[in-house]
Amino acid sequence: MKRTGSKSVRVLAAVAAIVSLFALQTVPATAGGVDFRKAVKNSGKGITIGLIGLDDAIGFGKDVHDSIAREAKKAGAKLIFCDGKLKADLALACAKTFKLKKVKGYASFNAVADAAPAICKAGPQVPVIAIDIEQDPCQSAFMGADNANAGATTGKALGNYFKKNFNCEYDAFISLEDYGVGIANELRMGGYRSGFASVCGAIPADKLKKYDAGRLDKALEVMPAALTTLPNAKKIIVVAINDQGIQGAFSAAKQVGREKDIFAGSQGAEKSVWCDIKTNPNWIGATAYFPERYGEIVVPYLIDLIKGKRVPFQLKVKHVAINGANIEKYFGKISC
């Protein structure tokens, strides 16, 4: 499987990613990436494409699946969906099924990057778009989140808020991480810190507290104890690897009557937290990933690849920092 994007294109994309990190200094709301493209009607007529799903039991994975199904239908392409359920062995079986069903190209949201070589080998030798997780050596293009930029986007929004309201003074910077997701955790959480530091300066070591508590249940478990160690603090910044971590943090803070003491930033801006973001003034920002629009990148570019057109290797989403003031601009009227 050849990569359609040339080496120079990928080098340029990498440079662009680095440049965009610096560009955040002046353009805080969005990061670099490609625009969403609505699938052109009948552009995929007679083409069968596949999707190895992340896990339909996870909201993010289901949104991505639904958006790809929607755009494939719009394009007139036949979509074969196979749920990887976060397991590499299932993704491997999916690839074999795609080979059997003779798909012309597929998108892979296999969760275990290290198993990608085996999956690529077992599947059909056709164009592959990797979603959010590298699928070397068969990925023709990489579509998805720009984790570092996503973190930096909301980190910067938090910095701006603290500069405007508290002259960059704060008591602690709590980072609710998920070490189980590896490099994505480092990129996202490091992104928060670099984004915040770009406005308010580097975070002193004694103020930075990291916990392996990115999930809702873990955040709920850890945060009361974390707040106990900060008895008089009134300006606590809390960032989490996803929205659920912040939901857990606010629930925990509420339990101990400290919900006004924390100022939060998250990643995802999933539908389940739209009302929280809109109504909670202490939820300062959430980086939108737009999983419900992933299909608007995956489907048209996959069809282009199948038709032999050149496609850039990096197809990253343009992230946006969502807050109570701009949420309806991006997601429409929200009734809470």
Binding site: D83, D89, K96
Partner: protein, 324 residues
């Protein structure tokens, strides 16, 4: 063991009379196969059947000693985590010291985990459910520790999971060999017959001279070895050790065994039943994917199938009891 010949013959007779137990499930499997053959053009394809049985092989390898344990009235919940640790060990050792060292390490690990489980159950006397629940949690932590939560890439060890001598995938051959050994052990050896006796009535088994603890201990060791082998096959198929691999394997194993007619209370079950149960699950999973059934409906169908099959079996048992 000082079991009389007449006792043994009676046990064999019981085993023979149990054979029809799998008939309803076999009928269901045939119906499923016919249904998917008619509804999907891809189902009746040699490559697809290879896919089905390769996917089943990992679970199947663990199901064989798992059936023996369940017949003896025990369960091993640690097999999934154990397979994950096995894969992580293999990934580490193969990358540093080569394949032979990796396989030796996995073998030693499998023995060790079987001995630990067996020791706590038979020597200390802790319930097997509790013991293996503990080792399951511990081993999951160990798997994460080994790779610091990350997967481990592994090179030059694809053959165990992907080689196809004479066109038959090696994992299928391994499963076949272990299954045949399991069938023979259960039906033709004193060890196998003792498992039924222990599961039916542990006290009576002890009274007639069966060394229950020793037999259960050995079965746990076999279970440990099989989970290590399953982890190695999975790791080889993926060319990577994944601490989250094989999570939920224990439930898949129990489902296949129970579906095959074994009793959770012990004393009842056959290797053929387990193999047919396992195949039924594999065919159903594969067929639903081929038919593009939405994933949530796949889960519903899988759950319903289990309830239906077990209910059917229970009804048949009740009717048979009435006739007696």
């Amino acid at each position: 063991m000082s079991k009389s010949k007449s006792d043994v013959t009676e046990s064999e007779g019981k085993v023979r009379r149990r054979m029809p137990d799998v008939a309803p499930l076999l009928g269901f499997l045939i119906l499923l196969t016919v249904f998917f053959t008619v509804t999907s053009e891809y189902f009746l394809d040699i490559d697809n059947f290879k896919n089905i049985f390769v996917a089943l092989a990992v679970t199947g390898v663990v199901c064989i000693p798992g059936t023996m344990l369940m017949i003896a009235g025990h369960v091993d919940l640690s097999v999934g985590s154990s397979a994950a640790v096995s894969g992580m060990i293999l990934g580490n050792v193969v990358n540093s010291y080569g394949i032979s060292a990796g396989l030796t390490a996995v073998l030693v690990y499998g023995l060790a985990i079987g001995i630990i489980n067996g020791f706590f159950v038979t020597v200390i006397g802790v319930n097997s459910l509790i013991t293996t629940l503990g080792t399951m949690a511990t081993l999951y932590g160990v798997a994460l520790l080994i790779g610091n939560g990350q997967t481990l890439m592994m090179k030059n060890f694809e053959w165990l999971g992907t080689a196809q001598p004479a066109g038959i995938p090696l994992p299928i051959i391994i499963f076949f060999v272990i299954a045949v050994a399991g069938i023979i052990t259960l039906r033709r050896t004193r060890f196998g017959r003792s498992l039924y006796a222990i599961g039916s009535n542990p006290n009576a088994a002890r009274v007639v001279g069966i060394r229950s603890n020793r037999i259960v201990f050995v079965t746990f060791v076999l279970s440990g070895l099989s989970s290590a082998l399953a982890g190695a096959i999975l790791c080889s198929q993926l060319s990577a050790g994944d601490p989250n691999a094989a999570r939920g394997l224990e439930l898949e194993v129990i489902t296949a065994i129970v579906l095959g007619g074994a009793s959770l209370a012990g004393g009842r079950g056959t290797m053929w039943g387990t193999i047919i149960g396992l195949t039924t699950i594999g065919v159903l999973n594969n067929g639903l994917i081929l038919l593009d059934v939405p994933t949530f409906w796949q889960r519903v169908a899988q759950g319903l199938m289990l309830i239906l099959a077990v209910s059917f079996d229970a009804t048949r048992e009740r009717l048979a009891a009435k006739r007696r």
